[in-house]
Subunit: 459 residues, 2 copies
């Protein structure tokens, strides 16, 4: 039996213990965007560091002005690889749509087999623990890892990563590696693993339209008093034309059409928008006309509204003219789109709709450029083969609709490329009620990383 | 000393006790729109009935399918007059803007003298108690009222009055009177009392745009999945043109220009939109161009958004595409506008914006036509004189921006006109944090009703 085979056998034999560790981690309510959960975030960081120390890493919890970072070094010779994951999770509202409490993980029967249900099961605690379990198994079987590894876990990924850039700059020497390994993406389908090679960037903005200095009665003031919801809906309602294109000035600057080769590869994947959308109760691609749904996700930019609120939103009716109205706007970027230019254009657009008596207040929730990975190097090709060895179908190089801003920061601050391997599935309901991670993703994900670690040791 | 003078002196001598009774009433958290406050609504109804029984009314609390009604008869000979008020109040959010708890009434120094601060102080507990205190004083001094009075208090005025129409129909004989007296309107200013002679009607609608069957990740689905906030903002953003006119088909059918006489009377009032809007931090009339701010409030219809919500509205940012988005829309109607036609037009407008994969769900929160009162009868002229006798300046016949749907129901169901006399001021912050009622409004309001009751006894 080769060393790798022994490591894989060890993972199989110890799968229950690995699942128990993940459940402990999932019980921590590490919602980073809500200050009420600050102590729970700290608890999750402490737990992760202690778990890594237990398998021999030199692990520490590092304070920031927000939630702490975890950094853990395996030590050893040769080129170093930096693994990145995040221990924070999304908020859980609307809570009444969860079939079980979000922080009490359970195994449930899913349409594709057993699944682990909890907030963070897929995004990202379950994913990051696939890598930790692979390391644990290599250490248990051989006493060391095939390569020198630093594990770096963030606690602010779901809240705009305010501490990330300063931390990377201050600890550049310690973190700089041959290649970053990131486990926060998905498979092509439940049988087909993927390395994500294109990532959309993003701009996240929040705007508050202010009008009167207090809420007003709509009977007494309705008419002469400007209503901030009227201003907000008019400005946001003009952001898309009837073909789904974004109307912002300069929005498509730097957006490139994908090449014919890639287009052919993507068409060969046999993606069915009917299946993809049908799974969530939709039927028609709503993005730009003239692009397939897969192109809309992987290679076209978007401007979406992720939240809006103003006035009375409770049960019943209240005849109020609100003092303010608020929206959260998330643009996804591709190619060479410039986040700063898009942000400026969005602000100018909304401000062009401001009448007398209204002002716009802006809160930035971060931004990043889109990224393309170099997929022709031997490490990417060997990793692809390692994944193909583990799963029923061969691995693919895929796009990715979501952005992973840290990949851009690794590139710009540490001069380091990233390899994105993850085991999420489209129906994992990340950011939604009843988030889950397939038990197969968790177990075969750990086996996959055990294989990839072996390939990284090759010259 | 005449009987009336003795009654007025009694009110002056017993003002503190009257204020204590009002404070007791204000401590009851009778928020009708929120089911959590059902027992508090019942408590307020019970208290009001007991208070009326204590001064000799035959008072009862009548169950409905919602909150109960209070009906109390003074008995006595001659024509009967029906007094209407409501014991329910608006919700109190945002709670953090209150300087004192909303249900712990206090006397505070206001710019125009002492004021009673609490939710419901002006709308409508303080107002309705002016009438009750006038009755109490007449009974205390003379043993009876100048006229036969039935007091009718509703507990669902702030939540669409679902029980009102059935109750009026079932109890028509008991409630039908010569004239209804309604205390839910305002003075022209702190020195000038008013009888409101035009009331805007209303249509209140809530729409929910449904898209996917769950919340989605904006990275994974952004582009091909239709975003209900995009649909909602586009539909609502098209409801007003750049001159402030409402674009709904047929919206202005039945809207009449006011006559030159009334226009001249209104201009003579010396209304300053700079002062009116300046008080709440605004400057420019936002309604239809070509109409004064007073015309915009009193004689022009509006379409306002009183609430909007969708997606993640908490602190921070969440990359979610929501499954639904919701808005509450309040139209104010004038002249002969037909609430049913406006409702149908609004629904058709929004539905014309629905793309594939979206549906609109509608919740009606009631509707009513606008009302004009006959102001040339002797009762209106004598009441105007009685008010002029009490206050520093002569009373005026005024318009009113808010609607009081019960006035329309009194007309259509009971064939009964209404006389609207109230003592609210523009800065009472009704429906807003720190609602107040001037102590002068409360005390001189009771004195005013004592005088009006005397005039109603005249042939």
């Amino acid at each position: 039996m080769s060393q790798l085979e022994a490591v894989l056998a060890h993972l199989d034999a110890n799968a229950d213990a690995a699942e128990e560790r993940l459940f402990t981690f999932l019980r921590m309510e590490s919602i980073s965007t809500d200050p009420a959960y600050k102590a729970e975030c700290r608890k999750a960081a402490d737990w992760a560091a202690a778990d890594l120390a237990a398998i021999g890493f030199d692990a520490s919890v590092r304070d920031t002005t927000g939630h702490p970072m975890v950094v853990a070094h395996s030590g050893g010779d040769g080129p170093k690889f930096l693994f990145y994951g995040h221990y924070d999770v999304q908020p859980v509202d609307p809570l009444d749509l969860w079939t079980a409490p979000p922080f009490e993980p359970v195994i449930a029967d899913g349409p594709q087999g057993p699944e682990i249900r909890a907030r963070g099961a897929a995004d990202d605690k379950g994913q990051l623990m696939t890598f930790v379990e692979a390391c644990r198994a290599w250490k248990a079987v051989t006493g060391s890892l095939p390569v020198n590894v630093t594990i770096f876990l963030e606690g602010e990924e779901e809240s705009g990563s305010p501490s990330l850039i300063p931390f990377l700059k201050e600890n550049a020497e310690e973190l700089k590696s041959e290649l970053a390994l990131v486990c926060d993406t998905g498979m092509w389908d439940a049988e087909t693993p993927a390395i994500s090679t294109m990532l959309r960037g993003g701009v996240a903005e929040e705007v508050v339209i202010h009008a009167a200095d207090r809420d007003l009665h709509s009977g007494m003031y309705g008419g002469p008093a400007m209503n901030p919801i009227r201003v907000l809906t008019k400005a946001l309602g003009a952001l898309h034309d009837d073909t789904g294109r974004v109307t912002l000035a300069g929005f498509y600057d730097g957006v490139h059409e994908i090449g014919d080769n890639m287009k052919a590869d993507w068409e060969a994947l046999g993606f069915s928008h009917t299946d993809f959308l049908g799974e969530v109760g939709l039927a028609e691609p709503a993005g730009e006309q003239g692009y397939s749904a897969l192109e809309q996700i992987w290679s076209r930019p978007t401007c979406e509204f992720t939240g809006i609120t103003g006035g009375y939103t409770g049960e019943g009716f209240k005849t109020v003219l609100p003092a303010e109205a608020r929206a959260k706007i998330s643009c996804r970027l591709v190619g060479d789109q410039d986040p700063d230019a898009i942000r400026a254009s969005l602000r100018a657009h909304v401000e062009s709709f401001l009448p007398a008596d209204c002002t716009a207040e802006w809160i930035s929730h971060g931004g990043s450029k889109a990224i393309s990975m170099p997929t022709d190097g031997p490490r990417f090709l060997r990793a692809r083969q390692a994944l193909s060895d583990e799963w029923p179908k061969d691995a693919v190089f895929a796009g990715c609709g979501g952005g992973i801003p840290v990949v851009g920061h690794f590139q710009s601050i540490l001069g380091m490329q990233s390899m994105l391997i993850g085991f999420g599935l489209n129906d994992d309901r990340i950011h939604s009620p009843n988030e889950k991670y397939s038990r197969a993703s968790f177990h075969k994900g750990a086996r996959s990383w055990a294989r990839v670690l072996a390939t990284l040791a090759e010259a």
